[in-house]
Amino acid sequence: MTLPFDVAAVRADFPILDTEIDGRPLVYLDSGATSQKPRAVLDTEREFLERANSAVHRGAHTLAADATELFEEARVTVAAFVGAEPEQLVWTSGATGGLNLIAGSLGYAGRLGAGDEIVVTEAEHHANLIPWQELAARTGARLRHIPVLDDGMLDLHAAAELIGERTKVVAFPHVSNVLGIVNPVAELVTLARGAGALTVLDACQSAPHLALDLPASGVDLAVFSGHKVYGPYGIGALWGRDEVLEALPPFTTGGSMITTVTLDGAEYLPPPQRFEAGTQPVSQAVALAAAVRWLGAHDPAAAHAHEATLETRMREGLRSIDGVRLLGDTDAAERIALQAFAVDGVHAHDVGQFLDSRGVAVRVGHHCAQPLHRRFGLTASVRASAAIHTTEEEIDTLLDAVSGVRGFFGVAAVTA
């Protein structure tokens, strides 16, 4: 028997959730953009900075030894969070930093050229699209994309046609930040492996919500951001298979990633240090470890069930509101509790403003996924995204507010 998930206890960990917006309680449904940070994360970082802070991997003094230990323990913890070994985990500035590292390094390695193809999806966040466009432009490779079907699912038939012997890289989101749909990793990995292509997983939106075992997933490289998994800004992680990382040259260079440097050249350390030029986000690494420990302290099955309840309530509730159109409206896939939608006749910006007046914080715009919006004939949408601390009542507040939008803007009579 699992105990019911104690969301009140979870909420008590987040100081910001007590905020009021114009006298109404804040309903934070923008965790897909950036998550809030539990007290354990804030306390851990502060304690590090007040007690142990100093340069890591340097010098002989006591603080430096303490800081180094905490920093490298953080690597072990965050690697374990995705089922990996610490040597396979590279600190980055965030997912965007990680994806640029991968694309940039492949470019420097001369691993792509004219005639080669890179395959992404139509559902890409710009962070997993533009670096590949730039790489293609620089190397003469061709960028192709797997289309998205009307219900938001990837067109796997098209994928099977697209991915072939010219394909060198297949990059895709584990979960799209607009559709909330969990993409079929195994199928895409099989196609990519069949073609001998490298797979790159954008795990930004899955990391906070799904248990990850990256080595078992079959992908070759993956990235995620700290600030979306209840951790700090300015840090993220890149995971890669040993032999894949081993074969990549550094993307950025500088201190702490070398063995010997002369005025004419440098020899580089093995991974992960090879990819970690300069002073690392040390206190953020320690705090990110605290974040994944905090997350892991909740019964994963119960947390997942809680989020699944939120997901269904939100999606079904939104779907039933007159004039609301969902992006990625399907029951056929596993999903996270994130839903983008459009309200007929009211611009997303105006919807967001109205919701804000009810205390409901959502994101409006193209969510860094312009091609996907264009695919659905939109320039902007509204996105509500829940977190482990979200309550069913908050979802109801969202639904209630969305129901009032068209009435307020005089677009249609409020549905009875």
């Binding site: 114009d22 611009h347 403003q353 409006v364 715009g365 193209h366 312009q370 320039t379 902007a380």
Partner: protein
Amino acid sequence: MSGLESLYQELILDHAKNRRGFGLAEPGAHSATVHQRNPICGDEITLRVDVDGDRVASVTWEGAGCSISQSSASMLVALLQEDGGEDGMPIADATALIGQFREALRSRGRIPLDEETFADAAALSGVSKYTARVKCAMLAWVALEEGLRRA
């Protein structure tokens, strides 16, 4: 009037629905067409300005966007038409208005837009308290500013 209601006054919602100057006119002898975009939401406006000597002869525009950006464009056209009369507003006056409008919108509610000067557009005063929306309200005005420089 709640914050939200002052932001979305009746007048604003009206202009957003009945947009003055919507639909691009044929380019004239001295016209410039400007494309402006709000990178945050992807909203765009295409504005065409026609000048006649030192006067603004006509302003038309197209684009989709939130009610603030749409009504602001519509109100700008109305203002130019009403104040400019038959001959059109002097370019110098239009430029000055745009500057004052920007200053007011960036003032976080300190500087109101007065009705004498800004006509219907004075209803946009409330926007200046919503810093995230200032760009929406400025879109057409920035486009006109650039158009006048280029025409």
